[in-house]
């Protein structure tokens, strides 16, 4: 049942930290504040923390599920449903990961088109970007992890730039705390969880971790630090914008950069957007890697061919989304599927795995 991976392509346990956090921070960071503030107002930062706590539970469940078979999602499915049905169910996830990559890349290109180059051609940029992705994935999972590592470490300086908003902020905006109904706060929690998506990729690369037992700590640490980051960012945003203003701001994080002024850079948002290239890279790489890996495990297509196939699929499907409404629809769809996969399907898997194991023992 378990998958055997050559020792030299495995990764150290602490790198799980970067795999998870880089996957969680993607395109959502740029504009999640408006969505969560819609329902829970300026109490939404509580929802950010609650959603983070839920993620800890989900990660715990994921490790439980994975430990039971010591393999990946495909081996879990085959353990429960048998070889054939298991593989069919697994191959559905190929499409989910393609959707994830497509949504991220298309939204990023939209941001470039709105903020920098209105005439940037979606096809050519995606073409170049996916070519780079293929080049990365050809280097093996270690290279993918390396990208996750550098793309978390190098752009981390961007956090500091938000300090520039403080002189123009009023932190009293978030007062009074708990001024909204509990129901609204939980609704915002659901909206927030869409931004946190991406750590379900752990279900695919788990067999690549050298010491899975030790990696748990790092996985939780990753969730903790992204929760922290998102909370801080939410509070900074709420202090910077008034509630009515935030309602109208589509990309709050980007708009905040408009106030940043360095001695040698008058306007920071252009640098920020260009840097975001790095931040979405692991999102796309890991998603496409997972997708092609499922193909390899289920349909037995060589991963070298699978990657090209999936990149082509992404490239083609990207061009169907042109207007903001279409892109929003794509994001909503991905978010919804991701929400059900993470918060319902994975706990359901744990229950079934436990039942199946008991039945098999008898």
């Amino acid at each position: 049942m378990s998958v055997s991976i050559p020792e030299k392509s495995k990764i150290s346990h602490f790198l799980v930290f970067f795999l998870i956090s880089s996957m969680q921070i993607g395109i959502g960071v740029l504009g999640f504040q408006r969505i969560i503030a819609k329902t829970a107002g300026y109490d939404a930062w509580i929802s950010v923390i609650i959603a983070g706590l839920f993620n800890h539970i989900i990660i715990w469940i994921m490790f439980k599920v994975l430990e039971s078979t010591n393999g990946d999602l495909v081996s879990v499915h085959t353990f429960i449903l048998g070889n054939k049905v298991g593989k069919i169910i697994s191959s559905v996830f190929t499409i989910y990961f393609v959707l994830l990559a497509t949504a991220v890349l298309r939204t990023y290109i939209e941001i470039i088109q709105v903020w920098m180059f209105p005439d940037l051609k979606t096809f050519w940029y995606a073409f170049a970007y996916l070519l780079a992705t293929i080049y990365i994935i050809y280097g093996g999972f270690r290279t993918v992890t390396g990208i996750a590592f550098f793309c978390t470490v190098l752009p981390s300086y961007l956090i500091l730039t938000f300090a520039y908003t403080v002189p123009f902020s009023n932190f009293e905006s978030i007062l009074p705390i708990f001024d909204h109904k509990l129901k609204d706060i939980f609704l915002a929690t659901r909206d927030m969880s869409l931004t946190y998506l991406g750590f379900e990729t752990l279900m695919m690369y788990y067999p690549y971790i050298k010491n899975p037992e030790k990696s748990k700590k790092w996985a939780h640490l990753a969730i903790l630090s992204t929760t922290f980051l998102y909370t801080v960012l939410t509070i900074i945003t709420f202090a910077y914008f008034s509630e009515g203003q935030l309602e109208k701001t589509v990309w709050a994080t980007l708009s905040m950069w408009k106030i940043v002024q360095l001695p040698f850079v008058e306007r920071f948002e252009y640098i920020g957007i260009a840097n975001w290239n790095l931040i979405i890279l692991p999102n796309i790489c890991i998603a496409i890697w997972c997708s092609s890996r499922i193909l390899k495990r289920t349909v037995n297509i060589k991963q070298k061919k699978g990657v090209i196939l999936i990149a082509l699929l992404c490239l083609v499907s990207l061009n169907f989304f042109e207007t903001r409404d279409q892109i929003n629809w794509l994001n909503d769809l991905t978010g919804k599927i991701g929400f059900y996969v993470n918060y319902f399907y994975i706990p359901f898997l744990l229950v079934t795995v436990l039942i199946v194991r008991k039945v098999k023992k008898k």
């Binding site: 920098m116 990208i147 550098f150 850079v265 306007r267 260009a274 790095l278």
Partner: protein, 498 residues
């Protein structure tokens, strides 16, 4: 004596020998016959007169063979005061030995056996101060073109029995001697085997210099990055051998190769170890900054001027606009024009004799620079940037890496023209991926950055004091990871005035 020479059977015997047929066609091949004065044994010397030391022959070999008791070949070992005397019956060796500077001795009585006496003439340049990796402080020796001399320089610094040299011959025509050095008990045997295997597998007719070997045995032959470190400093080689790496000495090359290596190593000058650690850490960081500056500054100029004028501070705007007012070229062509000019100057300077080269530098730098600004071909802001970035690229201590960095600028320029800052970051992604995928002897090239090894940071981007350097680099997987006992070097904790 003469009558023996003309005996027809001897003549026939000579023609029979296959190996001589070719050799006699060379004018410098000599075959001389002698008779021992005591025993009257007739013997014959065959050698290439141009590669043996005639002086050795006249003083250390010939007198003994003529005057001492010389009956059979085995006597040579006893009577000739030379260390390298070999006796063999393998005729296939003869050609090789003669061309390696041995004198072939045959005697009439033993037709099947031969003796070889080493009498190589070594024309060796004297050991000069290093030119490429010059340092103000520290030893002033550098390698020369002879493997023997080079091994001597290294052995002097590591006089231990564990320093082992294995020799291979590479190249069908050049028969180049390649020595592979490691310190037994420290270096990882796996690395050693990989190197030996790769060198054995080399299929090439002619190895002229160690750089041939770098290009042939690198993990990725298409990468612009050098994947083996080369150095001309014996002190560096000795230190690196002690660290657990492997050195490759190639005859005829003053550059010694070191493997495995990492990217950061290319930005550490060996002088860093001769300075206080605070200073050397500072210099290392400066060098890294210089590299980033050198690669990125012109692309950023092109990107901001072509696409992102909003980024430019108000105070700088007037300088930029007025300096570009007369320039007809778009920023990209302006930048390419200047970059290529600098490359031309560098190339011209490198090809010309030193004295003339300096003049070219002055002419190029001052005359062309000012003139092109006045003629309105370039803006003076860009001129400053390009000159600075050229300067920055020369701070890289390893020459080959400096070349790589200069070339890297051009793809960045291209992408900057295409997508502005977005393109610069995109090109950076390509570069980063390429570096991530590179390995040196199967070890990741970006170590200790990725895979992250905090322990190895002590001697990477910065250099910590020697008391902290008590462990060998982790990525080398040395057999003996501990360099020295740290406890003994620790400062005693004392109170004030005690």
């Amino acid at each position: 004596m003469k009558s023996w020479f003309f005996k027809s059977e001897v003549k026939n015997d000579m023609e029979k020998k296959e190996w001589e047929k070719f050799l006699v066609r060379s004018n410098d091949f000599k075959k001389i016959f002698y008779v021992n004065q005591k025993t009257k044994v007739r013997f014959c010397f065959s050698f290439m007169s141009t590669i043996i030391d005639e002086n050795t022959l006249q003083t250390n070999i010939l007198p003994y063979l003529l005057e001492k008791d010389f009956n059979e070949l085995d006597d040579i070992k006893l009577i000739v005061p030379m260390s390298d005397v070999q006796i063999s019956d393998d005729a296939s060796q003869i050609e090789q030995k003669i061309f390696n500077g041995y004198i072939l001795v045959t005697i009439e009585t033993e037709k099947k056996r031969f003796a070889f006496i080493a009498a190589q003439k070594e024309i060796v340049r004297t050991v000069a101060p290093p030119e490429v990796e010059f340092s103000v402080i520290g030893p002033k020796e550098s390698f020369v073109e002879s493997i023997g001399q080079n091994l001597n320089l290294i052995r002097k610094r590591l006089p231990i029995k564990e320093l082992i040299v294995e020799e291979l011959t590479v190249g069908k025509l050049s028969k180049t001697r390649v020595g592979i050095m490691h310190v037994e008990g420290i270096a990882d045997p796996e690395n050693l085997n990989t190197i030996i295997q790769r060198i054995k597998d080399i299929e090439i007719d002619n190895i002229v210099d160690s750089s041939y070997i770098v290009q042939i045995i690198s993990d990725n032959k298409h990468s612009p990055f050098p994947l083996l470190l080369d150095t001309e400093r014996p002190d560096r080689v000795a230190a690196i051998l002690a660290e657990g790496k492997i050195a490759i000495v190639v005859d005829g090359s003053p550059h010694i190769l070191i493997a495995p290596t990492t990217l950061v190593e290319f930005f550490g000058s060996f002088e860093d170890y001769y300075l206080n650690y605070i200073l050397s850490s500072f210099f290392r960081l400066i060098r890294l900054f210089a590299v980033a500056f050198s690669i990125l500054i012109t692309p950023i100029y092109v990107a901001t001027l072509s696409y992102h004028y909003e980024l430019i501070p108000k105070d700088l705007l007037s300088t930029l606009i007025t300096s570009r007012r007369e320039v007809p070229l778009p920023p990209i062509l302006e930048a390419l024009f200047l970059e290529l000019t600098i490359e031309l100057l560098r190339e011209a300077g490198a090809r010309l004799p030193t004295k003339v080269g300096q003049t070219i530098g002055i002419v190029g730098g001052i005359v062309i620079g000012t003139a092109s600004v006045q003629a309105g071909l370039t803006s003076n802001v860009l001129l400053i940037l390009v000159a600075l970035s050229a300067l920055a690229s020369f701070t890289t201590p390893v020459y080959k890496m400096g070349n790589t960095i200069r070339v890297l600028r051009f793809p960045f320029l291209l992408f900057a023209e295409l997508w502005g800052l977005l393109g610069v970051v995109f090109c950076f992604i390509l570069l980063m991926t390429h570096l991530l995928r590179l390995t040196s002897l199967g070890r990741p090239f970006l170590e200790p950055l990725y895979p992250l090894r905090v322990h190895d940071f002590k001697d990477a981007l910065i250099r910590l004091p020697f008391s902290k350097q008590n462990m060998r680099p982790q990525f080398l997987r040395t057999e003996q990871p501990v360099r020295f006992n740290k406890k003994k070097t620790k400062d005693k904790k004392q109170d004030i005035d005690e």
